[in-house]
Amino acid sequence: MTEKVKQGPEINVIRITDNAIDQFHAKREELIPILMEINQKIGYIPREAMKEISSRMRIPQSQLYSVASFYHMFFTKKTGSHVIKFCESAPCHVAGGREVWESIQEQLRIGPDETSPDEKWTLISTSCLGVCAVGPVMMVDDDIYGNLTPDQIPDILAKYE
């Protein structure tokens, strides 16, 4: 998996975007892999990146935005330093997911699709993560946690201090 570049003012959006475009030879059908690369490197797809893709690949910005906003793994707004994805699907729900989901929101004091004021956390609910046998499941950045119970949440979150 591509390492996320450290967030901060030093990120060179244009350079990362150009590299991503070159890596996939600026092909229209490679748009999703290109967006994925940028999303992974920067954590989201900034406006400047869309402008750059638009001018280099001759795709209207409106079309780019429509593709980027369609897929759940792409973010079009800046996210917190850590992104929590919580599985809201039925298998996790039935195995006790509801209580865990409440506990996460209580701990972070934010709701779904929100970023904490200190920009540390972004919380999203997601569809199935494909590890249902150990539900309830959540992902913090690239780490997967399964068989969750509400009282485990504070300890897990503390690891990302």
Binding site: I32, S66, V67, F70, H72, S89
Partner: protein
């Protein structure tokens, strides 16, 4: 999952408990240990077996012998005779005429051993997925060699047709027929796509097949491409499946280096290039037309069908689309023949099915069993019973788009035809097993919430229908439902089915239809009595 030589079930319905089933169970456990058989024999309780005069019952698989009534004092003899010496303890056998109702199914299933049978998962976990050598040692690329040196494309299609293989993605369309459509479609350039966008909640079989045995999919795709006349293929894989992507990429490189992919494979003149295309998180991209759009770099919104991908697919060329599990069956069929394949499963649904077992049971995980096993067998044998002695209320099969099955249907054989007759969808093979602690309104709310979020928004019935259904279910769960909401929900499920553009919207209504059909009284209790019988719904009177 550990496999055992024999499986012993003890009936634990109230009637059996009354007659000492618990003591029988304890005694069996002791005796099995005293013969040191505990690693070979699994022992579990089976509930909801119905009242009959021979309780308590002890049922021994795979012979499907029913003993009863068994008293604790009979147990040493039973264990020694049947489980240790392997002879039927005939004096303890239950008289056939006294077996009635739900218990009668067991003797009818004698000989259809509900044991694991691995065809598609044959190598997963046993070979090193990163090593093509390991795959080759385990019969890998033999089938491709056989196809390219001995068989014409039509021969390949014929043997797939003869095998009776049906699509494992959910719809159960005959695979050979689909191959025929693409082979007969006009056009020089054809594509083949492996649908690995496994997003149905509760399903992770394709991930394990790809992670455990990536070369099998590559080999099967090459065979399918040869059969239909394609020279280029794509594996459309979920963005979330990073490990599977990495392993597939590596496997493709290895196959290229060894000459199993690329130009003039096995000196036969057949060329095949294979690409991987990762998704980026969209349930709807499991729909054929939607992921074709996605491979072309667009929003994954489904195109109207017809025309079907078999004639107008990727870049408007004839395209064969098969699910991972379907493809994984291809190499074993070519190697062992269609008759071998037909020896598993039922006449109308041949082969095996991979199921994922989830929910309120003791053991969750993945099994591959012959088609036609029943849900009761899955729960009592593989899942080793319900968790915390709870009782079985319903199962949700096939992920969100599947069906909700009440306890009364748990003896229906799980194959395409029996399920179709019972109005149940086989779907992806996910079996979410729920105890009495699950509320149907709450479950339907979660399922509809899923569709509401995953709807692409292109057509109105799906975009608006799911939102409205969610609002109504939320209100019912808050104690604010009205009786005519039920008629509206019923109507909504019909509209979703009849008017939606693609499979997502068409199946979104099925949880609504199912809860109203099987659990209407429970839903009505939320409205009329303002009570959630399972004690799950908030009923706090907050409107959506």
């Amino acid at each position: 999952m550990q496999t055992t030589r024999s499986m012993v079930l003890v009936s634990s319905d109230p009637h059996s408990m009354d007659k000492g089933a618990e003591e029988v169970f304890q005694k069996l456990s002791e005796q099995i240990k005293s013969f040191k058989l505990q690693n070979e024999i699994s022992l579990s309780k089976v509930s909801d077996i119905g009242r009959n005069d021979a309780s308590p019952l002890v049922i021994v698989y795979p012979e499907a012998i029913i003993y009863g009534p068994v008293r604790p004092a009979d147990v040493p003899y039973l264990v020694e005779e049947h489980l240790y010496k392997g002879r039927v303890a005939s004096r303890l056998q239950a008289p056939t005429k006294e077996l009635s109702g739900k218990i009668a199914w067991i003797s009818a299933r004698k000989g259809t051993l509900p044991a694991e049978q691995r065809i598609v998962m044959q190598r997963a976990g046993l070979i090193d997925p990163d090593s093509i050598e390991d795959y080759i040692i385990h019969d890998g690329y033999q089938a491709l060699g056989k196809v390219l040196s001995e068989m014409s494309p039509q021969d390949v299609i014929t043997s797939i047709k003869d095998s009776g293989l049906r699509g494992r993605g959910g719809a159960g369309f005959p695979t050979g027929l689909k191959w025929d459509f693409v082979a007969n479609a006009e056009g020089e350039k054809k594509y083949i796509i492996c649908n690995a966008d496994e997003s149905e909640p509760g399903t992770f079989k394709d991930r394990l097949i790809l992670e455990g045995d990536p070369h099998n999919i590559i080999e099967s795709m090459a065979i399918a491409a040869y059969a239909v006349g394609a020279d280029e293929g794509y594996i459309y894989i979920r963005g979330e499946y990073m490990l599977a992507q990495t392993r597939l990429l590596k496997a493709i490189m290895q196959a290229k280096d060894m000459g199993f992919l690329g130009g003039n494979i096995f000196d036969s003149g057949f060329n095949f290039t294979l690409h991987i295309h990762g998704g980026a998180g969209a349930y709807i991209c499991g729909e054929e037309p939607a992921f074709i759009e996605s491979i072309e770099g667009k929003r994954g919104e489904p195109r109207p069908r017809p025309p079907y991908p078999t004639t107008n697919g990727l870049w408007d060329k004839p395209t064969l689309v098969n699910n991972v599990e379907t493809l994984a069956n291809v190499t074993p069929i070519i190697r062992n023949g269609s008759d071998w394949f037909k020896s598993f499963g039922t006449p109308s649904s041949t082969g095996t099915k991979v199921y994922t077992i989830l929910g309120n049971v003791n053991v969750t995980g993945l099994i591959e069993v012959p088609m036609g096993i029943t849900l009761r067998e899955v729960i009592s044998i593989y899942a080793q019973g319900m968790k915390n002695e709870s009782s079985f209320k319903l199962a949700q099969t096939g992920g969100s788009s599947g069906s909700i099955i009440p306890a009364s249907l748990q003896d229906t054989p799980m194959d395409y035809d029996s399920f179709e007759k019972a109005g149940v969808s086989m779907g992806s093979g996910a079996l979410l097993i729920c105890s009495e602690e699950t509320c149907v309104v709450d479950l339907a709310k979660v399922l509809i919430n899923f569709f509401r979020k995953e709807s692409c928004g292109k057509c109105n019935p799906c975009r608006i229908g799911n939102q409205r259904a969610y609002q109504m279910l939320t209100n019912i769960s808050e104690g604010l439902g009205k009786m005519d909401d039920l008629d509206k929900l019923d109507e909504m499920s019909k509209w979703l089915y009849e008017m939606s553009n693609c499979g997502l919207g068409q199946t979104a209504g099925s949880p609504l239809k199912d809860i109203l059909h099987h659990f209407r009284a429970e839903v009505e209790a939320h409205i009329k009595l303002k009570v959630c019988p399972a004690g799950v719904c908030p009923m706090s009177g907050k409107a959506y």
